[in-house]
Symmetry: C2
Subunit: 410 residues, 2 copies
C-alpha cells in the first residue's frame, strides 16, 4: 500500500493566492460590469527590457545552429551569468564571493522551498510572522511541525512576530533555534533591516551554529543608502548564511524564470554527533540529482541585466514601480492609515487603525472599490489587521485605485 506523506494533510486548505483568485473570480461573476484592479499578487506588468529581449533572441538563435547549440549546461549555471552576479551584485558592495558559490536556479520559490531538504528533521525552524507562505508550508511538508492550532500557528515552528510594535524586526530568540528564515527587504511588510540589526542575527547564528536562510528577492528596490543589500555585508555571515536572489521582480522575470542562491564554502551543518559537513556540498548534490539547470536562452537573457544598457533599463522600471509605491504611501497616509514599506520595497503595508480584520477589509475594498489587495493575515497570524498592496501595476491603475479607495467609508 503506497502511503502518502501525511504531513501534507496538516497544511491549510488553500495557498493564499489561489484563495484570492477564487474570491475575485466569484465577485467578477456576480458583478460582470466591475472593472477590477489587481494589486494583490506581486506579479510584474512591464515587459522585459530591450537588452534582455535582444540577448534572449540571440540565445534562441544559438540553439538553432549545430555549432552554437547547447545541450545540458554546467551544473551550477553558466559562468557568464555567475561571474556577472559576483561582479555586479557583490563586488560592488565589497562582498567577495567565488562564482562556485552561486547556484543558478529557476526561482527563489523553488530554492527556498527545497532548501530544507538538505537539513535533518529535528531542526527547530524560526520564521518571521507574517512571511512569504512558502517558508511555513515547506517546513510543514518536511515534517518539522505538529498540527495547526486555533490561533493559526503550527506547533513546532518558532514564530517571530513582526509588527509595528517592534518595527517589524523580530527579537533574537531566547531558546534553541537551528534554522532561521529572514527576508529583507521584507515581503509582505516592505520594511528593512539595518546592518546593526543583521549583525545581531549573524552573531546569534555563529554562537549557536544556526543557519540563516536570507531571502533578498527585493534587494534591487532598496533606495536608502545605509540599508544592506546582502547578508554577506555582515562580517561572519559567510559561515552561517545562505542567500536567495531572484530576477523575477528585479527584471520582470516572473514568467521567464531565473534566480540564484548563494551557498558559501565555509558554511557548515552538523551531524547529530556534531561533526561538521559542507552545506555547499549537500546543496550541490541535491541540485545535481534533482534539478537540471535553467534554459540556456533564459540564462543568456538574465546575464543581459548586468550590461550597462540592461542595468539602465531595469533601473528605470524599478523607479517606475517605486513611484507607484510612493503614490500609494501618500494616498493611504492621507486617508489616515498607518503605512509601512514602499521606500525600499515594492510593497506597501497598511493598517486601517479601525480594528478591521484583513479579510473583511479585502472584501470591502473589492466590493466598494473593485480593487484587489492581499489580506495581511494570509501571511500569518501577526499580519491580522494589515493589508498589502503591490506596486506592480500601471500608473493609471494605481491612480484610479487610489481615487476609488479615497471615497471608501472606513
Amino acid at each position: 500500500m503506497a502511503q502518502i506523506n501525511e504531513n501534507y494533510l496538516k497544511l491549510q486548505a488553500g495557498y493564499l493566492f489561489p484563495e484570492i483568485g477564487r474570491r475575485v473570480a466569484a465577485y467578477q461573476k456576480n458583478h460582470p460590469e466591475a472593472k477590477i484592479i489587481r494589486m494583490g499578487i506581486g506579479d510584474v506588468i512591464k515587459p522585459l527590457v530591450p537588452s534582455v529581449i535582444k540577448a534572449f533572441h540571440e540565445g534562441v538563435d544559438e540553439m538553432s545552429k549545430t555549432e552554437s547549440f547547447r545541450g545540458y549546461g554546467p551544473e551550477q549555471g553558466y559562468d557568464f551569468l555567475r561571474n556577472a552576479i559576483v561582479e555586479h551584485d557583490y563586488q560592488t558592495r565589497g562582498v567577495n564571493l567565488h562564482s562556485d558559490e552561486i547556484f543558478i536556479s529557476d526561482g527563489s520559490k523553488c530554492d527556498s522551498g527545497n532548501i530544507l531538504e538538505i537539513f535533518g528533521p529535528d531542526n527547530k525552524v524560526a520564521i518571521q510572522d507574517p512571511a512569504y507562505p512558502v517558508y511555513v508550508d515547506s517546513t510543514v511538508m518536511g515534517g518539522r511541525t505538529g498540527n495547526i492550532q486555533d490561533n493559526g500557528f503550527y506547533q513546532g515552528i518558532r514564530y517571530m512576530p513582526c509588527t509595528a510594535t517592534n518595527q517589524f524586526m523580530p527579537e533574537i530568540p531566547t531558546g534553541k533555534v537551528d534554522i532561521i528564515f529572514l527576508c529583507y527587504p521584507n515581503n509582505p511588510t516592505g520594511t528593512t533591516a539595518s546592518k546593526d540589526e543583521l549583525k545581531k542575527w549573524v552573531e546569534y547564528a555563529l554562537k549557536n551554529k544556526a543557519i540563516i536562510l536570507f531571502d533578498a528577492a527585493y534587494e534591487a528596490f532598496i533606495s536608502e543608502k545605509d540599508v544592506p543589500h546582502s547578508i554577506y555585508e555582515i562580517e561572519g555571515a559567510r559561515k552561517v548564511a545562505i542567500e536567495f536572489r531572484s530576477f523575477s521582480k528585479t527584471a520582470g522575470f516572473t514568467g521567464t524564470r531565473c534566480a540564484f542562491t548563494v551557498v558559501p564554502k565555509e558554511l557548515m551543518g552538523y551531524t547529530s554527533e556534531g561533526k561538521a559537513y559542507s552545506v555547499h556540498a549537500l546543496w550541490y548534490r541535491r541540485q545535481t540529482t534533482k534539478f537540471n539547470q535553467v534554459s540556456y536562452p533564459v540564462q543568456k537573457a538574465a546575464a543581459a541585466i548586468y550590461t550597462p544598457e540592461g542595468r539602465k533599463e531595469t533601473r528605470e522600471i524599478i523607479e517606475y514601480y517605486m513611484e507607484n509605491a510612493r503614490i500609494m504611501r501618500e494616498s493611504f497616509t492621507e486617508l489616515g492609515f498607518e503605512v509601512f514599506g514602499g521606500i525600499n520595497a515594492p510593497y506597501v503595508w497598511i493598517n486601517s487603525g479601525t480594528g478591521m480584520k484583513s479579510w473583511d477589509l479585502f472584501d470591502k475594498i473589492l466590493d466598494e472599490a473593485h480593487v484587489v489587495g492581499t489580506p495581511g493575515s494570509g501571511f500569518g497570524p501577526s499580519g491580522e489587521g494589515y493589508f498589502r498592496f503591490s506596486a506592480f501595476a500601471s500608473r493609471e491603475n494605481v491612480l484610479e485605485a487610489m481615487n476609488r479607495i479615497r471615497n471608501l467609508s472606513l
Copy 2:
C-alpha cells in the same frame, strides 16, 4: 545547531556522469593529441528544429510588449501546451486524459527526483537494476534506505535485476512493495516492455495498492508497432500509475528544459490508517508550493513540437539518431558483442562476453579508441559487464568511433 540530512552521507561519492567527466578530462590532459569522441552522457547534439525556433522567438517577442507580456503563468502550465499533449501524445493512442492531469515541468529528472516527497517514509521502493541513478539517489536522500553494502546495493531498496537472463524485464515482486519505478523504453538497456508485461505490473499494483512511477522519457524513439508508448494504454493504469515524459531527447530540449508528468485524478495514496487521498492533489500542492512553472517562451517552443511541421522536423532528427543506433548495433554485433536496445531507444547496451568489467572496458575504449561510453555498472550492480553507447552523436563521429573500436583487441 543546524543538523544536516544525514541520509545524504549514505550516497556514494560521485554521481556517474561527473565521474566519467573526471576520467575523460584526466585522460585528455595526459593525451592532448587524442581526438575524443563522446558517446557517454545521453546529451543531444542536433539543434532545435525550425518550427520550435520560430515559436521560441515569437514567445520572446511577446515578452517584449506590454499587451502580450506574461508574468506568472498557470500553475500546471499553459493550456495550449497541455491540450496539445493530451491530443497528440495520448488521444492518438486511444488514451483519454484530461489536461488537468498534465503538470508541465522543467525536466523529468526534477519530477522523478521530487515525486517521492509526496509519499511517506515507510514505503518500500522497488527499482530496476540497472537504472537511471536518480531513482536510487532520491530514495536514499529521502531516508528510505539503510547504508550501501559491499555488493553495491543499498539496504531497504527492492532491486529488480534486469539482465539478458530475464530479457531485461524484472520479475513481479513476491513480497510487499509500495512504489515501483519502471522505465520503458529502458534507460540504460534500450529494451522495451510489451503490453502483456506491463499488464502484469498494473495488476500487481491494483492488487497491492502500489503505485508505479513510469518513466517514458524515450517513448518517441519507439519504432516497433506493438510496443506501448504509455502505461495508460493498459487498462486500470489510471488508478495506479504516474507517467513522466520529456522533450529533452524527443526534441533536443536538454538545454532548453521542458517536460511533463501525468497524475490521473483516480490515483490514490493512503494514510497509515488506510484512508485514501488523491495523489493529484498532493502533487498539485507540492508543485504550487515549491515550483513556479516553466518559462513562457519555452512552453511556447515546446508546443510547436506538436504542429505538423514540428512533428515532421523532430521525426527526422529522431530517425537520424536511430540510424546511428542501427550502425552501432551492427558494428558491435560484427565484433561479437552481445547487443541489446537501439531499436526502440537511442541507447545500445552491449556486453563484451569476455567477462571484462564495465569500468575496465571504459578505460580500455577511452585509452585505445579515444571513445567515451558509459560503464553499465554505473547504473547499478546488475549493469556490471555491460556498457552503454548513446546514439546522440553526429553520423561522422559514430562511423569514426565504430571504426576505431573495430580495431580494438578485446
